[in-house]
Amino acid sequence: MKAICFYFQIHQPFRLKRYRFFDIGNDHYYYDDFANDDIITRIAHKSYIPAAESLLRMIEASGRKFKCAISVSGVALEQIEVYVPELLDLLKKLVATGCVEILAETYAHSLSSLADPEEFANQVKVHDDKVNELFGVRPKVLRNTELIYCDDLAPQILAMGYKGVITEGAKHILGWKSPNYVYAAASAPKLKMLLKNDKLSDDITFRFSNTNWSEYPLTADKYIGWIADTPDEEQIFNLFMTMEAFGELQNRDSGIFQFLEALPRFAAERGIEFITPSEAVSKIKAVAELGVPFPMSWADEARDTSAWLGNQLQKEAFDKLYSVAERVRLCDDRRLKQDWYYLQASDHFFYMSTKHQADGEIHSLYSPYDSPYQAFTNYMNVLADFIVRVEEQYPLSIENEELNSLLTTIRNQAREIETLNKEVSSMRLNIEHYNEEHALREKVAEPEAKPAPKKPRAKKEIKADTSVSKPKKASKPRPAKTKQTPEKEK
């Protein structure tokens, strides 16, 4: 039985405001709130919300047979929470049907997997927590930023507890192979790979309303027909696309929503079912192992990482950013951490691309800047200020390792102090017990005579002690216990 595996991406970066070099060190707020609000609200109303509503209708109309996956980057989730909470409600509703799976990805939509494995693991975890907090589910399949994947990543992804990974079906990797099977990662055979079917995905994303296209107009009937007419062995059709394809890249009046909603009906007629990525990796066996020696992605003609790291500007900015990664992880300033995530968004590097041919068009379509040079200047100015702030916390003159060892010493000491404190308080309790018992004994022996002067003395001693270490923790349990013990004994 053939199955369609849909996955839709929602992502919007925090765009930076015009940040001049004379702002470095003076202004620590980097974002263009107006543009961010404006863009996500516009796209949500034009695309995300109607598309989510369509999906909801499709699930209901098909009797929960329609299934798909959605991935929302952490930075997009934050923007949705602030600017378009109604979209969040819709997403929650979708997840609640049980037919929509949420995928794991990097919180910041970052390229950290290419630079810093620790940062990558950390971000995926933070994203999982966020998803869990909002939707009450934990993702099982990972989609790395822009579908970036290579052999080096597979063991880590598997170790992080994911059973499958979603990536591109790049021609230079597949060669004669078809993307319509489940593959296993060559470097970690237990990890299954779902590869994007480029042709069928892009038919919807880019070509649907193109009147010059030989297949125009594309109908649901025809589209499902293409899938049904493939050889029987081809089991899974991975249609991965950005959710903006519906309503934004393809206009509402092109009929894209009607097309989408008609798919389940025609699929049912031809005996094609829908499947979520996690079902796919657990149900379908891998046909072969697939090695990916160099990172691939779903962007640009080359399907590699050149969209973000193709020229000197991008590499410089990228290296500068990750040069402070370790230090930022040592910090616990919340605003600093937040900026750290926002600055890592791959989009900032995307804007710096100097490709001028066919790919250049898509780069400048999304870019809020006039030129890649402007994008670079602005980003570097912001980054310079950010690094100044990191340095204020931990000066660069100290080596990372030295700093690390100092910090572990401090942490160890803190732990030691804690255990000592515990010891002190338990000792204190013992003393009190002893005192109380002693007092009671005296009470029994000489009622109303001696206990009065002894108790205050004990209190004083304790107070003097606690002011040195932790006053609140040590002093609180004491009155409770003193109350309890006499009661018990009564």
Binding site: R20, F21, L313, Q374, T377, N381
Partner: protein
């Protein structure tokens, strides 16, 4: 072709552009070009065009011997040529100030009696038009439009005029009515108009009221630099150098350069600013730099010529052209050839074809300061602009421009 300047004796971009275009057209082959200039010095490159000096064209009959002509002007013109031209004198211009050879002396510069010189040039053009054989007349810039019109009236051959600049660019809108008159007259009489940028094309159409159908843009290009210019030796200061190179006039927006310098120097003291060139706003700029308190980092080396230009560029880290209105602006292309990252105003014609430069509005001092800081402080930015810029400018060659001009000729002659 009628022109006013020709290398190596040039005063501005006009000479460079006329030379490059002529050479580019010659490279496309199958073309004989006669280039008329006011005053040749004898060291012009004559390999691809015949050069006639207006100062050697007789307009009044003088009975002189071959040897005498040889000794007087042999350096710049063949005596036989002189006699051939002398046969074509069409009226008695003895009332004009002519010399012993019956020629009118031209300065070949932009003197105070420029209008008189333009008129004399047109009188001389009548003789040349009668003596030479040609299919098409090409006039470079408004100074030679009257000559072009005259030649057209005499021969009936089609006239193409080449607009390198308009008075709207030179005066920031306060046009000189006489100049405007000459320009418009030329445009109306021309069979086709070539502009150096889309920006200029719009000016010609909107301000001069010309039919858009007969106005075409052919962007300028650059001649590849020779090895010894590329490797010119120069001592670099240890600071970064930001350079402005050009006439210090209203059109070039020098005050924005000074304001940018003030902004950058406030935060980054490791930069020097150089304003090379001369012009009527120079004193004002020296004054402004002093008032901003940046005179210690702001330099005025004066007018640069020939090799000095390339030495200056070689020593620079950033080239800036904040022109308020620039029909084309060939100097950023030269800076890019020397591997200097350039910042240009969006109001420049060359901004239409360049990608690997920083473009800002001429008044956006903040953006320019930001760009200067960025190039000086982020090596990746400098290297990317430098390398991509050199690669890009190497593709902008005159033979492509020449090919387009030839296509226009064919269209005008009804051959296409």
């Amino acid at each position: 072709m009628f022109g006013w300047e020709f290398p190596p004796h040039i005063l501005g971009g006009l000479g460079t552009a006329s030379y490059g275009l002529t050479k580019g057209m010659w490279e496309c082959g199958d073309m004989d070009i006669t280039f008329v200039i006011p005053k040749p010095y004898g060291d012009e490159d004559k390999s691809f065009a015949k050069i006639i000096g207006a100062s050697q064209v007789p307009v009044a009959w003088r009975d002189v011997s071959h040897d005498y002509v040889e000794s007087r002007i042999g350096k710049v013109m063949d005596p036989d040529e002189y006699f051939r031209l002398r046969d074509k004198i069409y009226a008695d211009f003895n009332y004009m100030r002519t010399n012993d050879l019956g020629c009118i002396e031209f300065s070949g510069r932009y003197p105070d009696n420029l209008l008189e010189e333009i008129n004399n040039y047109s009188i001389m053009a009548g003789v040349v038009a009668r003596a030479e054989e040609f299919d098409i007349i090409h006039s470079h810039d408004w100074l030679t439009y009257p000559a072009g019109i005259h030649a057209k009236q005499v021969t009936g051959k089609p006239l193409v005029i080449h607009v390198h600049a308009t008075d709207y660019d030179r005066s920031r809108g306060n046009v000189n009515p006489t100049v405007f008159g000459i320009e418009r007259d030329g445009m109306l009489q021309a069979d086709h108009i070539i502009t150096v940028s889309e920006l200029t094309r719009r000016t010609v159409i909107d301000k001069y009221g010309i039919d858009p159908a007969k106005v075409t843009t052919v962007h300028n290009a650059v001649v590849p630099l020779s090895e010894d210019l590329l490797n010119v030796e120069v001592n670099r200061p240890k600071e970064k150098v930001v350079t402005f190179l050009g006439r210090i006039t209203m059109q070039k927006g020098p005050e924005y350069f000074v304001e940018t310098a003030a902004k950058v120097l406030k935060l980054d003291h490791n930069v020097r600013f150089v304003m090379a060139g001369s012009g009527d706003m120079m004193d004002k700029m020296i004054d402004l730099a002093a008032r901003r308190g940046i005179a210690d980092r702001f330099h005025f080396p004066g007018f640069q010529k020939g090799k000095e230009v390339y030495q200056m560029l070689k020593a620079s880290d950033v080239y800036m052209m904040p022109s308020v209105s620039e029909p084309f602006g060939i100097s950023p292309l030269e800076a890019m050839q020397m591997g200097v990252p350039s910042i240009i105003s969006k109001q420049s014609g060359c901004a239409e074809i360049l990608h690997n430069v920083i473009k800002t509005d001429y008044w956006d001092v903040d953006a320019m300061a930001d760009a200067v800081y960025s190039i000086c402080n982020y090596p990746a930015m400098y290297n990317q602009l430098r390398e991509d810029g050199m690669a890009e400018v190497a593709q902008i060659t005159w033979d492509k421009a020449g090919r387009k001009v030839i296509d226009i000729y064919n269209k005008v002659l009804g051959k296409a």
